[in-house]
């Protein structure tokens, strides 16, 4: 499933890396410990987190994630969005909780 379809179905707001909207999402990870995400997320995943620190861009870049979904209405730091735009990393935001987003992603077939 393409990131754009997921973004539409879940009402996500793309904040950076719009060029990745046509990319396939092949799995998912939910964690607010960046060390856990680094160890357990895979290339092609969407990563759902409430962390907004610029390091989330580093994790996404390192693992070649399709996107980071910032949950719970958290606002990414300006430095995070600047770095994401510079490095072409997709960050999308949502007012939904990580719990709800994970459930809806699973329903959409992201497993």
């Amino acid at each position: 499933m393409q990131l754009a379809e997921i973004a539409q179905a879940l009402g996500l707001t793309a904040r950076s890396g719009e060029q990745h909207l046509s990319r396939e999402v092949t799995g998912g990870c939910v964690s607010d410990l960046l060390s856990y995400a680094m160890a357990n997320a895979h290339a092609g995943d969407v990563w759902v987190t409430i962390q907004v620190h610029p390091n989330i861009v580093g994790v996404a870049e390192l693992l070649d994630l399709t996107a980071v979904i910032v949950a719970g209405g958290q606002e990414p730091e300006k430095a995070t969005l600047d770095k994401a735009k510079e490095q072409g990393i997709a960050i999308l935001t949502s007012r939904e909780t990580a719990f709800t987003l994970a459930g809806r992603l699973y329903e959409l077939g992201v497993r």
Binding site: D32, L33, L34, S35, Y36, A37, M38, Q51, V52, H53, P54, N55, G58, V59, E77, A79
Partner: protein, 236 residues
């Protein structure tokens, strides 16, 4: 050059998770008995008992660095140690302004009591700010604000899974200015400061760092950290 055997991270009765025996006179007596020449007093998000601890340490031969262990928005703990109690209290004012409003959980038995005490350890009052919660300041905002007020800033128990910088943020952010990292509750790590994070008297000094320094000012301690003029140890 003099050596300073230091435990830079000790809590008092102001931290709800600390034992009620962690009063200024008892913790200073314990430091003196252990031969510690320097102790950092840092409660969660507060420096409320640091002036009392400085007073309790007068003529004891134990130098006290007043400070706070600030919890950032990301859930990272940063140890901020100062030369003067007033600097720590200035930092505390900023931290208090960035803590969430008092939640209904405060005062619950789960979170415990937050005691303000004087230099003799006598009860002065309860601290009502929710010190066990995170501020809404980022790691950089906390580190920069503490540095502006004259602090030595260390990533507290940086390798610990709960509230450790490395676990929470995955790696040290490239643009974050820290003076060092403190290693966690387990062993020692090369290049990292070791301290006890004591919440009980018998934990004080269990991990320590010896600084080879002219004095125990923030400036001199920072120079030691930069030059590697320190070594760590585990007390048996």
């Amino acid at each position: 050059m003099p050596s300073w055997r230091a435990d830079l991270h000790v809590h008092t009765v102001l931290s709800a998770c600390a034992d009620t025996e962690m009063t200024p006179p008892l913790l200073i007596a314990r430091c003196r008995d252990l031969g510690l020449g320097l102790v950092g007093v840092a409660d969660h998000n507060s420096a409320g008992n640091s002036a009392a601890t400085l007073e309790a340490a007068a003529n004891s031969g134990v130098a006290v660095k007043p400070g706070l262990e600030v919890e950032t928005r990301e859930s990272v703990h940063l140890l901020c140690l100062f030369d003067e109690a007033q600097q720590a209290l200035d930092m505390q004012a900023l931290v208090y302004a960035h803590l969430p409003p008092l939640p209904p959980t405060s005062g619950s038995r789960f979170f415990g009591e937050q005691f303000l005490v004087d230099a003799s350890g006598s009860f002065l009052g309860h601290e009502h700010h929710p010190l066990f919660m995170a501020t809404d300041l980022s790691v950089s905002e906390v580190a920069d604000a503490a540095h502006e007020r004259g602090a030595l800033v260390l990533g507290a128990h940086a390798d610990r899974r709960a509230h450790g910088l490395l676990a929470v943020l995955g790696f040290v952010p490239p643009d974050l200015t820290l003076d060092g990292l403190e290693c966690g509750p387990g062993g020692l790590m090369a290049g990292r400061v070791a301290s006890s994070d004591a919440h009980r008297l018998n934990e004080i000094g269990s991990r320590y760092t010896v600084f080879d320094s002219e004095s125990a000012t923030v400036e001199h301690l920072r120079a030691c950290l930069c030059a590697g003029r320190f070594r760590t140890g585990l007390a048996v």
